[in-house]
Symmetry: C2
Subunit: 500 residues, 2 copies
């Protein structure tokens, strides 16, 4: 008997875990903090990779692969970077096991210099870039890598925060600051476009504050999404590294005048974490809801038959024909002829988030029609078989649009401009509250508030409410105001929110 | 000034390294034994992934992702497997760095149980499979994973043997021995087909001997290719694991009668090593030669212009038109409009192994034609512009065919049936000889010899000549004979060769 999915209202955190289990997206593993990405979850990642990879390559980016291990001395070269990652790295110290007493294996052969399992690859890549780049003719250098990285996290949750995760990390080198600034924003724009148009998740775009930026960057830009509990989730970041790493790793080039210059660099990354955002943005109490553009299965066909063999054969034949037609126009179609009750099948595909379910039973066959059921709204409609290849794509498009609009509407409802500390805490109270309660009372959300720019105020607000500055939005009304905490002068509103 | 490529005759090992450097396929890294796969090399791996992944999925295999780390206790569960890998694993023992004296970072926070960086994933996967599988309805389970693995090797060479490498590892679970036997062979057949039809590298298929099989398998099957120095290279393996791991990891299912049974398993893998085979099978003293079906760039267009701007514009226009046409029919085309001497460009694309180079100069434009140059033979031909979209694909097909046939012919010339020890050592002498000398004298090759089946003879031959049994070919003439070393009865010929 399948486990019931906890409702969002009852327990949002448990609901998230239940949706993942019911859709068979991921599984816990015997290694603390590491998850197993199951086929249905991995197929979503493959679709994400396919689209993003295409978008990167269209801008001239090329993929490469750098070592998993980073010599400890490399991390020591960029002090801020080292400080940011030292507390969360896995360290390889031995390269052999020997058989000890009781048949147990014991680490043997210690390394002269310990190796760090990459938490990110700036250091190892830039050491190499310093040799690849000689002159301005070698620039820009636009490299991306799809790989696994490890960050030792104490509190983990599937997709959202895992010790090992999969991601892409782009690293570019430019001759001028202007080009690097532009690249930083261009890649952020790809993340925004991808997240909104493919995942149907609206995002706020802006700068991170000094305290939230990447360790070693001049500045960090990000996309921030709102989950259904109104918490924020950082879904991708693009960093302008300035010349910081270039100076630590001697990434230099001869300019057109033959003079040696430090290069300007960017890095940008998006990880399997975004699957957590995808799940939390759209799913409901029945399980996973996926936007058609990223769903591994866009349509499932469930034939329904009685006891007569001839009837079954005719229904299978009609179902196969529809499947063929839909595949021909490029849809991903699953055919479910398993010998099981239709209700159980419907339930299963619902939990897996398949956008459109097609049913074909004896009466449908007689009427030369099928039933199409939308996962997002549950709406059923009868479609003439001859119209299927026109109507199903229309439905998928409507679902994609509806999911985005619904999420956008939800974000609007839960975004508040606040102009005083009283207003601020009326949405995100000072007292520590359970997540579930916050979700129930509808509190939280994105708070657009003036902030003086001082790290002290930012820290104090975080301490009192757990809300952090998610970003300083690019898009500013140009309005002046007073810091929501200290009353100091402010020229910008920032987004405060509790975050994953 | 570009470095000259060492000739094969002069020094085969150095030639291999020079080809890789000249084609910018890979670079050494600051981590001993780890390489950096550069964009041109990684694009080959992406093409390999694309085709193999499609072939796997057509048989119902699904991709998933399992943790990079394996608890030490898991490796202890299957004794033979542990024995096979214990001496070459990287071990994570700490999860934090702290700042020590002199600003150096020191490993901190030791783990309770050390973690092994996966050398392969049988143990961690099968522990999970034991929970995924309940009944015969859950079988077959067909899982594949694209990932990095680490095996601590002392002597490394780019692609051929690196400490970290990229690969795919397939893992399947079946209800019966028969199904698992069939799966083992079916996946080997995919490797054979892929290697011969896409990489244009002919392979011998067969079983590994007991001493060469995978640690923990019932038997191992493999594909073995011959390199241009007549040495063998194992390019892919498919293992029948029997119930060995099932018993260690409790991979059981309830059969149709409701009885609990141990499952039957297979695993199969192919790695970036095969790029080494690809390089060594076809390349020449001018550099890399790639079969069109796997080449990242199938055709490069090099416009040649004089000083007049109008002439250049007209030539560019014609070149762009050809490029568009070829892209439309699905070819991967590179346009080289860089401001450099045509000769230098030709040289560069030659080194990178681009199968067909197209030149368009003022005279060609006047004649409405282009020059097409084959990388494999160096042949030039004039093609009318209007015929390009017909003729270029024909040339690519001819190159693909020629490379395979050439490699097949080479293997035939260097495969010898030997019936006595004297004959054996006339090809692979007993005295230790340098690689280069072997290549020069044309000695070595694949020796088809009778073998009694005893591990002692196999070991003695290896000791005396360094030749190992590459495989016991599936295809046997059914002829009886005498062991080439001891004279004992034999019903089969095996392939002896020196190997990478």
């Amino acid at each position: 008997m399948a486990k019931k999915i906890t409702s969002r209202e009852e327990n949002y955190s448990q609901w998230y875990l239940d949706v993942i289990e019911a859709a068979q997206l991921a599984d816990s593993s015997p290694v603390r903090g590491c998850m197993i990405i199951r086929p249905h979850g991995y197929a979503i990642w493959e679709n994400i990779q396919k689209e993003l990879d295409r978008m990167f390559k269209e801008t001239g980016v090329k993929n490469a692969y750098f070592p998993l291990f980073i010599p400890k001395s490399f991390l020591e070269k960029e002090a801020k970077h080292a400080e940011g990652f030292a507390k969360e790295v896995a360290i390889v110290t031995h390269h052999r096991l020997k058989l000890g007493e009781n048949g147990k294996l014991i680490p043997d052969a210690p390394l002269e210099e310990p190796l760090i399992v990459r938490p990110t690859s700036e250091t190892i890549m830039y050491d190499t870039f310093s040799r690849w780049i000689q002159s301005y003719r070698d620039l820009p250098l636009l490299i991306n890598q799809w790989c696994n990285v490890v960050r030792w996290e104490l509190r983990t949750r599937p997709f959202l925060r895992t010790m090992e995760f999969l991601w892409q990390e782009g690293h570019t080198v430019h001759a001028t600051k202007k080009e690097a600034d532009e690249e930083t924003l261009a890649m952020l724009e790809i993340y925004r476009k991808f997240t909104e148009e493919y995942l149907a998740v609206p995002v706020a775009v802006g700068y991170k504050t000094e305290s939230e930026k990447f360790a070693g960057a001049d500045y960090t830009t990000c996309i921030e999404a709102m989950m259904q509990d109104t918490k924020a989730l950082q879904a991708g970041t693009s960093h302008m590294l300035g010349q910081n790493f270039a100076k630590s790793f001697e990434v230099k080039f001869l300019d057109e005048k033959g003079e040696s210059q430090y290069a300007w660099q960017t890095s940008w990354g998006l990880s399997t974490r975004i699957i957590g955002a995808l799940i939390m943005a759209h799913s409901d109490d029945k399980g996973l809801v996926l936007p058609p553009k990223i769903a591994p299965i866009q349509t499932v066909i469930v034939p329904i038959w009685g006891e007569k063999e001839e009837e079954r054969n005719n229904i299978f034949e009609a179902a196969d024909k529809i499947a063929e037609e839909l595949k021909k126009i490029g849809l991903s179609v699953e055919m479910d002829k398993r010998d099981a009750r239709p209700g159980a099948k419907f339930f299963e595909w619902e939990k897996k988030g398949v956008p459109v379910r097609i049913e074909i039973g004896p009466k449908d066959l007689e009427a030369n029609s099928i039933i199409a059921v939308r996962r997002d709204t549950g709406e059923k409609e009868t479609v003439a078989m001859a119209d299927a290849e026109k109507r199903i794509p229309e439905l998928l498009e409507a679902i994609q649009k509806n999911l985005f609009e619904k999420a956008l509407e939800f974000r609007k409802e839960n975004t508040h401009a606040v102009n005083s500390w009283e207003e601020f805490v009326s949405h995100i109270p000072e007292a520590k509250r359970g997540e579930a309660e916050d979700a129930k009372t509808g509190r939280g959300g994105f708070l657009l508030a003036h902030w003086c720019g001082k790290a002290e105020c930012e820290a104090e607000i975080k301490k009192r409410t757990k809300a952090t500055i998610r970003c300083v939005p690019f898009d500013q009304p140009g309005e002046e105001g007073k810091c929501v905490l200290c009353g100091g002068a402010s020229k910008k509103r920032v987004i405060f929110a509790k975050a994953y």
